[in-house]
């Protein structure tokens, strides 16, 4: 335990968080951390570049983690999101955005949905307060259905009770509701339940074999278990193999944290783990030769300890009930089976569940549960959070006790309450305003040879600090992690190779993973070796899954981005390149696995090779997805009553509305915009559009008729000779260019140049209603010339094809009848609406296929085309109905 002979310079300022007068001397970039002062005068040499492992990089084998086990049979619901709680209306852009909780909309909906809840309990609640003579009457009154007729008496009561009930009740209820919502919102912003992580890796006897322990089931209340926990075999060259099907231990509450510690130091790969429990077993127990582990589990109100032996079943040792709620549990790296348990009440207990009857030597047995610290107040400044954390230190009798404001070293043998602050949320660590401790961890529990056993990790929402318990209050390393969610788990791994820096993994709740390389051998200060690295998260795996229809795709996406609640990693030393095996547990209960290998020859000039999906990986994902989609969706907690107005509106929407006036009015109403003349179809200065001239459509029907009769060739001949005349035979490609020039001229006229690309334009600007020219002003008639001149049928086919490809624009009819207003409406349509329409088209496609089959099939158009056409007909209510039969349906 040598202390670094020279510490990096740092300013020491006492004071509160975000103290304004401190220049930040602890530089937070990774390279500046590498620049610790040279011990001796540096030699001025040409190649005096810092001896820094520049290319230290763990390369993922696949672009993202892969599911290790099939998804559980229970449906998973992502729960409350910010969208559900925040105020949506009047979003103004501000530099300092504010979260405003909203209840109005939700509450009114709730009252609509739950009339029973809204009205009945009020009466029941108040009943107790009415021990008057007329209590019986009141009872009846209150139990009256609110929608029944009102008697005279009741009316009078309404008038009387209105002011009283309305104000005081609203205040009371409002307070309660606000409290609840605020609590939910706080929880959404910061969920500390899973701090420490709920996934653990119990190494087996052979390196690369082990068991995963994690909660499963919809409520995360089953600890995976068989005769053993989920056994996994890892080989450096291939994917992990899952052995056997684990059973489970059913618990009575959700598992929040799982901690393990190997009891035996027999396995060669895990020699760094300190032996535990050996003294508690009789001498020469055969079990001693097999690695066994202790397994501590924290639930909301219970903590439990198991012993996982190799041959037998996991044996429960003891369960502890924590009345106020447990916030953290940790297992001692020094003494077998000693634990610390923290409670929301601010108490920290040392727990020795295994102290059974006195051992042979007659050592005095310490009480099983001993409170070593209690303070309902926080350490440095006042913070409302009851979160507490405790861990061990290099001295087995000294614990760290942490809360949101700092971390304290507490001597369990000293007088209660005494101790020394190890980390202070304040100017000492140049903390910024609003910074809070979210995770603390003792890092000294593995191999003592590469890093001092006195280091502690402290994570806040901004930074990561490394503190040496011999130099309290002055962090030796500070790094801005930049995670966009709460840091949940941190794990320091043994060095992959002797002399290599040690990887430190940090996982954020949103699934982000970061890997830092920490070096600091012997008497040198710990520092970052090379720039930190981000590892692929579960949402990076989306590309490995086959493309799905939107609803399932969304479900998959949601599942992949479920919060991370556990992380376990193990380094497999292999001859050529060390392999890092990484397991992640999500709140949906999925275990994902990722393999990384240390870049063999780090050459900064070569671009980092990008991993790609192997066919095996994608097939594994497909299988997983198939199982996932078989899992039924969460049944809704309640079904909204059918008298919801929105639903009624919805059913109206699908119905075809006749006539332009109600259609326009209805859209205006639905969109809540100003009613305009064109909505009503009132064009006072213009005459009603005359019936379209017998134009191309007639040709089409003629052609169709001919086709039905099998004389299309003759019809063609006739037509060639008739209308076109010799020498005027148009060529197809020429027509196309003509068409596209039309689009460009059209788009130019409509000022659509920014919004439309050529293939998109036809559906916006060239509806089939086009051949109704009289409405267009004379100037436009010039550009529309080609249309009026009888479009050949093939061209229509091209158009139809376009339309089949693209959904129809909603406001086409408006454009057809009054093109001057078209510009603004088209430009105003956002892409969101576009996609929406895409969806409707697709959905309608599915729904109407049966209907489509019954239609007389036409050779000229596909079902898609018909449908879009049909839709167009629906949307353009002003179109003469007789057009439809002409189109063949």
């Amino acid at each position: 335990m040598d202390f670094p002979s020279s510490l990096p310079p740092s300013l020491f300022m006492t004071g509160p968080l975000g103290l304004s007068d401190v220049p930040d001397v602890s530089f937070m970039c990774s390279w500046r951390d590498a620049l610790t002062l040279p011990e001796s005068p540096p030699q001025a040499s040409e190649n005096g570049a810092p001896h820094l492992a520049k290319g230290l990089l763990w390369e993922p084998d696949t672009p993202g983690p892969l599911p290790l086990l099939p998804p559980g049979p229970d449906p998973w619901d992502p729960g409350l999101t910010a969208r559900d709680l925040l105020f949506r209306g009047g979003y103004h852009f501000r530099r300092q955005p504010r979260a405003v909780l909203d209840v109005t909309e939700q509450l009114s909906q709730f009252l609509w949905d739950h009339g029973d809840i809204a009205f009945a309990p009020l009466g029941k609640l108040m009943l107790e307060n009415f021990k008057l003579e007329g209590a019986q009457a009141l009872y009846f009154l209150i139990h009256f259905c609110p929608w029944a007729y009102l008697s005279y008496r009741q009316r009078r009561f309404s008038i009387l009770g209105g002011p009283v009930l309305a104000t005081s009740l609203a205040r009371l209820l409002g307070e309660l509701l606000h409290e609840e919502l605020a609590a939910r919102w706080e929880q959404l912003l910061l969920d500390d339940a899973f701090t420490g992580g709920a996934l653990a890796w119990v190494p087996g006897r052979m390196p690369g074999a082990g068991q995963l322990v994690y909660p499963a089931g919809g409520a995360l209340d089953r600890l995976s278990r068989g005769p053993d926990f989920q056994k996994v075999s890892l080989t450096p060259g291939s994917e992990p193999r899952v052995l056997g099907d684990p059973g489970h231990i059913q618990l009575r509450g959700p598992v929040r944290q799982v901690v393990t510690r190997t009891v035996q130091g027999e396995g060669k790969a895990h020699r760094h783990l300190r032996p535990l429990l050996t003294d508690l077993l009789p001498d020469h127990n055969p079990d001693l030769l097999c690695p066994s582990a202790l397994l501590a589990v924290r639930s909301d109100y219970h903590c439990a300890l198991w012993k996982v032996g190799k041959p037998g079943q996991p044996a429960p040792l003891q369960v502890l009930q924590v009345e106020k709620g447990a916030t953290g549990i940790s297992l001692s790296p020094h003494l077998p089976g000693e634990l610390t348990v923290c409670s929301r009440s601010g108490a920290v207990c040392l727990w020795n569940p295994q102290d059974g009857p006195s051992p042979p030597h007659g050592w005095p047995v310490s009480p099983r549960l001993r409170q070593v610290y209690k303070d309902p107040e926080t350490l440095v400044f006042r913070d409302p959070s009851p979160w507490r954390w405790a861990d061990f230190t290099a001295h087995p009798r000294v614990l760290t006790v942490g809360d949101r404001t700092g971390v304290k070293l507490v001597d369990t043998q000293g007088p209660p309450g005494c101790g020394l602050l190890l980390f202070r949320g304040g100017a000492e660590a140049s903390c910024q305003k609003g910074e809070r401790v979210l995770l603390t961890q003792y890092l000294g529990d593995c191999s003592p040879e590469s890093l001092q056993p006195t280091f502690h990790l402290v994570c806040t929402q901004f930074s990561l600090y490394l503190v040496d318990e011999r130099l309290p209050l002055v962090p030796l390393l500070k790094w801005n992690h930049g995670l966009s969610s709460t840091p949940v788990v941190a794990q320091l791994l043994p060095p992959p190779r002797p002399g290599c820096p040690r990887p430190l993994l940090l996982a954020g709740q949103a699934g982000e993973l970061q890997l830092l390389h920490i070096t600091g051998e012997g008497a040198s200060t710990p520092r970052l070796a090379g720039p930190p690295q981000s590892l692929p998260s579960r949402s990076n795996s989306l590309s490995a899954f086959p493309l799905l229809e939107p609803k399932s795709q969304w479900r998959l996406q949601e599942r992949l981005s479920a919060p991370t609640i556990g992380l376990a990693a193990t380094v497999l030393p292999s001859a050529s390149t060390p392999v890092l095996s990484l397991f992640q547990l999500s709140a949906a209960g999925d275990v994902f696995h990722q393999r990384l290998h240390l870049q063999a020859d780090p050459r900064p000039d070569s671009p980092a090779p990008t991993a790609s999906w192997t066919p095996r990986a994608t097939s594994r994902c497909s299988r997983w997805l198939k199982t996932l989609l078989e899992v039924p969706l969460t049944p809704p907690m309640w079904a909204a009553p059918t008298f919801s107005h929105r639903r009624l509106l919805g059913s109206f929407e699908s119905r075809e509305v006749e006539g332009k006036v109600p259609e326009g009015l209805r859209t205006a109403m639905a969109e809540g915009r100003l009613l305009q003349h064109r909505d009503l179809g009132l064009l006072p200065t213009r005459e009603q559009p005359p019936a379209p001239e017998p134009g191309p459509e007639d040709e089409l029907s003629e052609r169709l008729e001919a086709a039905w009769e099998g004389q299309v060739a003759a019809w063609w001949e006739r037509r060639q000779g008739g209308s076109s005349g010799p020498g005027k035979q148009p060529k197809r490609h020429k027509r196309r260019t003509q068409l596209s020039s039309t689009f460009s001229s059209l788009s130019g006229r409509l000022d659509l140049s920014d919004a439309t690309s050529p293939p998109r334009s036809p559906d916006r600007t060239v509806p089939e209603a086009r051949p109704q020219p009289p409405v267009t002003p004379p100037s436009q008639e010039l550009t529309q010339g080609p249309w009026a001149e009888g479009i050949p049928s093939e061209r229509q086919q091209t158009l139809r094809d376009y339309m089949a490809e693209l959904p129809l624009q909603g406001d086409t009819p408006g454009g057809a009848s009054a093109p001057s207003s078209q510009t603004s409406s088209i430009r105003g349509t956002s892409s969101r609406q576009q996609t929406l329409r895409d969806c409707t088209v697709k959905l309608q496609l599915r729904g109407d296929t049966a209907g489509g089959a019954s239609m007389p099939s036409s050779q000229t158009s596909s079902v898609r085309a018909t449908l879009s056409r049909q839709q167009a007909a629906i949307l353009s209510g002003s179109q003469p109905l007789r057009k439809k039969p002409r189109m063949g349906f």
């Binding site: 510490l7 530089f27 005096g48 979003y91 530099r95 005095p364 001295h395 910024q432």
Partner: protein, 444 residues
């Protein structure tokens, strides 16, 4: 107060987070709150400041691209994004515009530090430009630039840089600026110390009667005078200044200013405003030892170390109690469990103390440890592993275990049973000692 100091004092992370940091009702700040709000806001049409909003969103997206590329070690890509990010200097929001240079410097220097194609020249150009764009960051950037040069072995360039920064003045005086200037001066002093110690080396190779000796020593004296001026200002400010204190004291000692050196070291070790730095005590101890200070004084300086025990040992009886205390204390720590010196001394001390029939001293120490030392030090597993790794250690530990726990102790029994040619005599001796002194059954 000038905006300079306001700029300096702003916590840097806040700048990097942009405006994503919002205080909640509990006073806590959530960098991810913005994301939540955006998910709601996105579905709505923004009602005001559309252009500003768009630009803010684009810049924050660009920033996250850069950060992502950095975390993936894609330096080339990060550089490309950085190129676009410079647009933020044109932001209409003055707050952002002011914070921008610092972000650009932090990210840009990181990219240039790791980029395979970046060179010293590129870095220098970038640093010089950034110093003048963010005038507010002049001192900070200068200091970091100097450190960069120092690590590339360019001492002279670093020195020039620091000198420039030292004389730089802008706006009103503020304490934060003063600290930075002190730091810059101290680093400059350190550079001067490097040359000084080089000269000292040269001097030691010269003959005292040589003519050159005089000029050289005169030269050195000049240097040290300048250096001490530079160093002494900073080390008055509370902080961890190990390299500065060390070099300052070395120079003071060289010129015979023992009192000055002692004062500096005592202040560094005992001033309450300073953090409790073990090195401060080690330096003071080293100084006192060089000065041949009385042992009592040395003992008082050392808190917990084996060296302390070695001094104590020489003082015989009267310090045995303190020695035991120190040894037990040292062996409490997880990092010292295999320290053979400590175990050797403990075994020796226990024997001597018990020989001198001071059983109470041993019991005093042992009482607080008897319920956990057996599991911590003397488990069956440790017996096996210690014996395998270091037999001498195992023997010393077995002796201590035997004395403290009696001969029934598992550790003792395990070592006792081992048959070893070389250590046979030692094990025999150990058995005898345990029989004689064990505190568990003193009657036997």
């Amino acid at each position: 107060m000038s905006d300079f100091s306001e700029e300096l004092v702003r916590p840097t992370t806040e700048d990097e987070q942009g405006e994503t940091c919002v205080l909640s009702g509990t006073g806590m700040c959530f960098p991810w709150l913005q994301k939540h709000i955006e998910t709601v806001g996105k579905t709505l049409v923004a009602t005001g400041g559309k252009r500003e909003k768009d630009f803010a969103q684009t810049t924050s997206a660009c920033l996250s691209f850069i950060q992502e590329a950095l975390l993936k070690h894609q330096w080339q890509q990060a550089a490309e994004y950085m190129h676009s990010y410079l647009q933020i200097l044109e932001d209409s929001d003055s707050n952002k515009r002011q914070g921008a240079p610092e972000i650009i410097w932090r990210l840009g220097s990181e990219i240039l530090y790791y980029h395979p194609k970046s060179s010293l020249e590129t870095f220098n150009t970038f640093a010089d430009r950034m110093k003048n764009i963010g005038v507010m960051n002049y001192l900070k950037i200068s200091l970091q630039h100097a450190l960069y040069l120092l690590h590339h072995g360019l001492l002279e360039d670093a020195n020039r840089n620091l000198s420039q920064a030292e004389t730089w003045r802008y706006g009103e005086k503020s304490s934060s600026k003063e600290v930075l200037i002190n730091l810059i001066q101290a680093y400059k002093g350190l550079l001067q110390y490097y040359t000084w110690s080089k000269k000292k080396m040269e001097l030691s190779q010269l003959d005292e009667d040589d003519y050159a000796y005089n000029t050289a020593s005169q030269n050195m004296l000049n240097h040290s005078w300048k250096t001490s001026i530079n160093l002494c200002a900073l080390i008055q400010i509370p902080g961890v200044w190990d390299p500065f204190v060390k070099s300052y004291v070395e120079m003071l000692e060289f010129y015979g200013d023992q009192d000055g050196a002692r004062e500096v070291l005592t202040n560094y070790a005992y001033d309450e405003k300073f953090p409790s730095n073990p090195n401060a005590h080690i330096y003071l101890y080293g100084f006192l030892k060089r000065e041949r200070a009385p042992r009592e004084k040395l003992i008082s300086v050392l808190k917990l170390s084996i060296e302390k025990n070695m001094i104590l040992h020489r003082k015989k009886e009267e310090h045995h109690k303190l020695g035991l205390e120190v040894l037990f204390g040292v062996l409490d720590f997880a990092g010292c469990t295999k320290n053979i010196t400590a175990w050797k001394y403990l075994a020796k001390y226990l024997r001597q103390t018990l020989m001198g029939s001071h059983l109470a001293w041993v019991q005093e120490e042992w009482n607080s440890r008897k319920n956990w030392w057996p599991r911590f030090h003397f488990s069956y597993f440790w017996a096996k592993s210690d014996w395998k790794d270091d037999k001498t250690l195992a023997c010393e530990k077995a002796l201590v275990a035997g004395i403290l726990l009696g001969k029934g102790c598992r550790y003792f029994r395990y070592v006792k049973k081992q048959d070893h040619q070389v250590l046979q005599k030692k094990i025999k001796q150990m058995k005898k000692s345990v029989k004689k002194y064990s505190i568990v059954n003193p009657g036997l």
